[in-house]
C-alpha cells in the first residue's frame, strides 16, 4: 500500500514533467500502470477541453458563414469544413507537424508549434471546429420557421434576434449531436502522440503510456483495459456535464417532451 502511495507521488504528474525522470523499466506493478496511464490522461483532458472551448466559438462563426448568402463568406467556410472533415485526422496531425517544422526554419516564432502542447492543439482545434460547424449548420437549417417569424413579429432583428432566438434554438437543436462530438474529440486526443508529434522526455498521453507498457510486457490485456476504464470515466463526466447544459437549454419545455441525450459512439475520424 505504502509502495503504491510512493509510486503515485513519483509518477502521478510524470506526464507534465514533475516527478521521477526515468519510467519504470521492469517488474511493472499494477499500481505503476494505473498511475502512469492516469497521469497521461492529463494531456487527453487538456487537449480535449481547450480544443472544445476554442472550437465552440469558431464553429459558430463557421456555421453562420456556411449558412450565409454572401458567396465570399460561404465558399471559404464550406471549403474549410470539407477540408477538415474529408481527410483523416491522423494525416492532419502529420501534415501539421511537418508544416510547423518547415515554418520554424523560416519564422522562428513557430518553434512552440512543433511541440505537441501547442501544435497538436491547433490541429485539434481546427478539426473539431469543422465537425462542430457542420452540426451547427444542420441545426441552423432546421430552426422552425415560426420561431424566426415570431422574432420578426416582435420587432427583433439583427444581433438581438440572433442572440435571443436563433443562437439558443440552434444550440438546443444541436446539443445531442454536439455531445457525441465532444466525446469523440476526447477519444481523438489519443492520436496526438501516435502521429507526428513526438513525446518530449517521454511526457505522453494515456495511450502513449499504455502502449509503452504493452510493448515492454508483451501483454496487452492489462494496460489497454485500464486505458478503456479511464476513458469510460472521462466519457461519463462529459455526458454528465453536457446533460446539465442540455437541461438548462430545454428548461422552458415540459419535462416529458424534452429530448434526452442519446449517446452514439463514433469511430475514428
Amino acid at each position: 500500500m505504502n509502495a503504491c502511495v510512493q509510486t503515485i507521488t513519483d509518477y502521478g504528474l510524470r506526464a507534465i514533467g514533475i516527478g521521477k525522470r526515468l519510467l519504470p523499466r521492469e517488474d511493472f506493478t499494477l499500481c505503476e500502470q494505473f498511475t502512469l496511464i492516469g497521469s497521461g490522461m492529463i494531456w487527453n483532458v487538456y487537449f480535449g477541453v481547450l480544443a472544445l472551448i476554442a472550437g465552440f466559438g469558431f464553429a459558430t462563426l463557421l456555421a453562420l458563414g456556411k449558412a450565409s448568402n454572401i458567396k465570399v463568406i460561404r465558399k471559404p467556410s464550406e471549403w474549410f469544413i470539407f477540408l477538415f472533415r474529408g481527410s483523416p485526422l491522423f494525416i492532419q496531425f502529420f501534415f501539421g507537424y511537418f508544416l510547423f517544422l518547415k515554418l520554424k526554419t523560416v519564422f522562428p516564432i513557430f518553434a512552440p508549434f512543433t511541440a505537441a502542447w501547442l501544435g497538436a492543439l491547433v490541429v485539434l482545434f481546427f478539426n473539431t471546429s469543422a465537425y462542430t460547424a457542420e452540426i451547427f449548420y444542420g441545426a441552423l437549417r432546421s430552426i422552425p420557421k415560426g420561431d424566426i417569424e415570431a422574432a420578426d413579429a416582435y420587432g427583433l432583428s439583427g444581433w438581438t434576434r440572433f442572440k435571443r432566438v436563433i443562437w439558443p434554438t440552434m444550440l438546443r437543436l444541436a446539443w445531442p449531436a454536439y455531445t457525441n462530438e465532444a466525446i469523440f474529440l476526447f477519444h481523438a486526443t489519443t492520436l496526438v502522440f501516435f502521429s507526428g508529434f513526438p513525446a518530449w522526455q517521454q511526457r505522453g498521453d494515456a495511450l502513449y503510456y499504455a502502449s509503452y507498457f504493452a510493448d515492454k510486457t508483451f501483454n496487452p490485456f492489462i494496460p489497454y483495459p485500464i486505458l478503456a476504464g479511464y476513458f469510460i470515466l472521462l466519457t461519463l463526466c462529459v455526458i454528465g456535464l453536457f446533460s446539465i447544459v442540455n437541461r438548462r437549454l430545454n428548461r422552458h419545455l415540459p419535462a416529458n417532451t424534452r429530448q434526452r441525450l442519446r449517446i452514439r459512439p463514433n469511430l475514428i475520424r
Binding site: 483523416p88 502529420f94 517544422l101 475514428i268 475520424r269
Partner: protein
C-alpha cells in the same frame, strides 16, 4: 516502387474490408433479430461491446490479442508436451512450431499475414457499426410491407429474404455511406498496425535522415508528401460522395418513401 504498392494496399484493404464488414454487419443484425434468445444475445452483445470501446485502443489491443490467441491455441494443439507456461514474466513464449507465421516462412507470408489480421480487425470493428445501421434499417421497413407478404402466405424466411432485405437497403444506405467515409479515413491506421502503407512511405521517402535514402538529393519533403496524401483522401471522399448520391437515387426508385414518391411524380410529369 513500393510507394505505388502501398497505395494499392490501401485500396485493396478498402476493397476487401467493405464487403467483409457488410457481411459481418448483416450477420450481426440478423442474429440480433433472431427469435432464438442465445443467438439474439450474441448479435446484440457483439454490437454493444465493439461500439463501446474507444477507437484506436481497439485496433492496438485487438491485433496483438488476436495474434496471441492464435499462437496460444496452436501452441496447445501442436506442442502438448510443452510444460513451461506461455507467459513467463513479461515474455510471451510459444514453441517454434506454433509461431504464426512460421519463423522460416518467406517474407511475403509475413506481410500477407499481417494484412489479413488488419483486414479482420477492420471488418470486426466496422461490422459492428454496420450491424447497428442495418438493424435500424430493418426496423424502418414499414410493417405493412411485411404483412402484405404474410397475407400472400409467405413464410417468415421468405418475407425476410424477399421483402425485408431488398427494401431495407434504401434505409440503410445513408448510414452505410457515412460508415464508408469513416472507413476511408480509418485506413491510415494501417500504419499503426505495422503495415508499410502510404503513411509509412510518406515519412520514409520525405525524410532526410532515414538510413535507406541518405543519398537523396533533397531536404525534408515530408510536408509535401503529407499534403499529397491529404489531397488524395479529399478527392477520394468527394468521388465517394458523388457515387453514393447516384446509388441512393437508383435505390430510391419505386420505394415507399418521400424521395421515392417525389421521383415517381417527377417521372410522370
Amino acid at each position: 516502387m513500393s510507394i505505388y504498392w502501398s497505395v494499392l494496399t490501401v485500396l485493396l484493404l478498402l476493397g476487401i474490408t467493405a464487403p467483409t464488414a457488410l457481411a459481418f454487419g448483416f450477420a450481426g443484425a440478423s442474429a440480433a433479430r433472431s427469435r432464438i434468445a442465445p443467438i439474439s444475445w450474441l448479435g446484440r452483445g457483439y454490437v454493444a461491446v465493439v461500439r463501446g470501446v474507444p477507437d484506436i485502443a481497439f485496433f492496438l489491443f485487438f491485433v496483438i490479442a488476436l495474434d496471441q490467441v492464435i499462437e496460444a491455441t496452436r501452441h496447445h494443439v501442436l506442442c502438448p508436451d510443452w510444460v513451461e507456461p506461455i507467459r513467463q514474466g513479461s515474455d510471451f513464449v510459444v514453441c517454434q512450431a506454433a509461431k504464426m507465421p512460421l519463423g522460416n516462412a518467406p517474407q511475403w507470408v509475413h506481410e500477407s499475414y499481417g494484412f489479413a489480421i488488419a483486414v479482420f480487425t477492420f471488418a470486426i470493428v466496422f461490422g459492428a457499426f454496420a450491424a447497428n445501421v442495418i438493424q435500424g434499417a430493418m426496423a424502418a421497413v414499414p410493417r405493412g410491407q411485411i404483412e402484405t407478404g404474410e397475407s400472400y402466405g409467405m413464410t417468415s424466411r421468405q418475407t425476410f429474404w424477399r421483402i425485408l432485405v431488398p427494401q431495407m437497403w434504401v434505409y440503410a444506405l445513408p448510414g452505410l455511406s457515412n460508415l464508408w467515409m469513416v472507413l476511408i479515413k480509418a485506413t491510415p491506421l494501417l500504419f499503426l498496425l505495422g503495415i508499410q502503407d502510404i503513411v509509412y512511405w510518406a515519412r520514409e521517402l520525405g525524410g532526410i535522415k532515414t538510413s535507406r535514402f541518405t543519398d537523396y538529393p533533397h531536404g525534408d519533403w515530408r510536408m509535401w508528401y503529407f499534403l499529397a496524401l491529404l489531397v488524395f483522401y479529399l478527392i477520394f471522399t468527394r468521388v465517394s460522395e458523388i457515387t453514393l448520391e447516384r446509388l441512393m437515387a437508383r435505390l430510391t426508385r419505386g420505394q415507399a418513401t418521400t424521395a421515392g414518391e417525389a421521383q415517381r411524380k417527377a417521372g410522370t410529369i
